[in-house]
Symmetry: C2
Amino acid sequence: MAPAIYEQIASALLRHLDAGPEVEPRLGAALRQLAVHPGKLMRAALAYETARRAGVGRRNAERLACAVEYFHVASLVLDDLPCMDDAAMRRGMPCVHRQHGEATAILAALALINRAYALMGEALAGQPRRVREEAWSCLTRALGTAGLVGGQAWDLAFAGTDRSARTVSRIAAAKTAALFSLAIMVPGLLLRPTRAERRALRALGVYWGQLVQIADDFVDVMAPGFEVGKTTGRDGRLVRPNLVLALGLPRARARLDRLTGQAARVLAQLEQRGKGRWRQFREAGETLTQVCAVREPARSAA
Amino acid sequence: MAPAIYEQIASALLRHLDAGPEVEPRLGAALRQLAVHPGKLMRAALAYETARRAGVGRRNAERLACAVEYFHVASLVLDDLPCMDDAAMRRGMPCVHRQHGEATAILAALALINRAYALMGEALAGQPRRVREEAWSCLTRALGTAGLVGGQAWDLAFAGTDRSARTVSRIAAAKTAALFSLAIMVPGLLLRPTRAERRALRALGVYWGQLVQIADDFVDVMAPGFEVGKTTGRDGRLVRPNLVLALGLPRARARLDRLTGQAARVLAQLEQRGKGRWRQFREAGETLTQVCAVREPARSAA
């Protein structure tokens, strides 16, 4: 996707923030810190492009993109808390709770979540009732006890499970894939996908979510934190699900390759069926594969 | 309001919970504990009755009521966390974080918030676009940095302010009044209020929110925790806004009486203007005044 889109989304993230001068200073500072240091914006750019292709205007596509990103950032802030993963670094900086305190970190996450629902509601308001209802149900399922929140609960409870690779994958499907599904499905539904396309979109969300999660697992196990700008080495210490720890390095690499192949096949199906409607996903898939490859330092060093 | 309505809402709170058998056990237990021990359901019953009067069907009125209650309960769970008010007891039981851990408490609050937005979206889906958009904007403003979340941030930052009664009231208006405004305004907007009625509804939300907050301030200062089923005496210790501490007992009582009068006058205006459309608020006002009187033990003992 064109670099201009990332710049546009990055500036919209600040504009939609709701952190004016009347906001309590620490909360305002935490919110601005989060908005001016965006990540790779993969999910947001995907949501933006899909919405644009579905005929959504620039302003509403921006709203959808910002909503997806705010949900994502809020989940990172909360995951990093001492009672969750107890991380110190994120995106090359001290975590929000380290800079502004735990209470402010929680409130900043809540403010982002509230803005995200607000923007989603605004962006979807003009859609026909059936589309709105389906998108809303998709959104809230992805974030709830069957998705992001539920996956995080299983993540924390992992030590008490069978600790198998299957359980690791199930948790990744709930936790990491939820936000990809959301970024793909909510704007994707505006394109009125056929039943087969819907299945493909859902599968793509799961494959991409799992890919990013495995890449993250590699980073946690193998990269020193100062190189990647966030706390690493916590999964083993805290007994958290990690596919590299569960399968060992060679089998985890094989899984990464298999998922890459599965995602590519679904993409090919979508392109064939959609006659160009889903073209934006090819490029996103390529970006994602690159990101995942870069994040696996052992392979790039080999 | 008829006791049957409270029972109906209490049973709907469990039904809409999204805590099925596949949910991680601790998270499921926390969610069920919160839903089977509801509070007085003042806000929820108010939202239900207003929605019914606006012609909303039973199922959607239930959704609105449950959404309001879930937002309220989530805010209590988060306020009680060690990094916020560090409370031990709530509704006569150990707080969720004391029973199920901090991480589970945070996730349970997020699950409730997500369900609340889901139910709000469902309940409003059939409304005309203008009403939906206005209600959504009202909802998300009440919960954001200018409302609940922002008020809680100022609450925690109170020690660094001028600690005046005015600041205490401003924080109560943002924090406590937000949920009342939401319970009144969101379903109230479905009745297509005139501009004057809108102003009156907003004022009512602020007066009632402040009344409940002052009553709470009395309890914190004067009641032993075992009598009221929650941790008390924290406001002074933690330097949190408390009107009884800021004004002293006699002036705080005078303020309570003044607010009761102001609320009664707005109610009378609404009744006169609305020709019976806002009748449910009179009864709610009487319930609220009773609750606030009961919660001020020094006066009832006098």
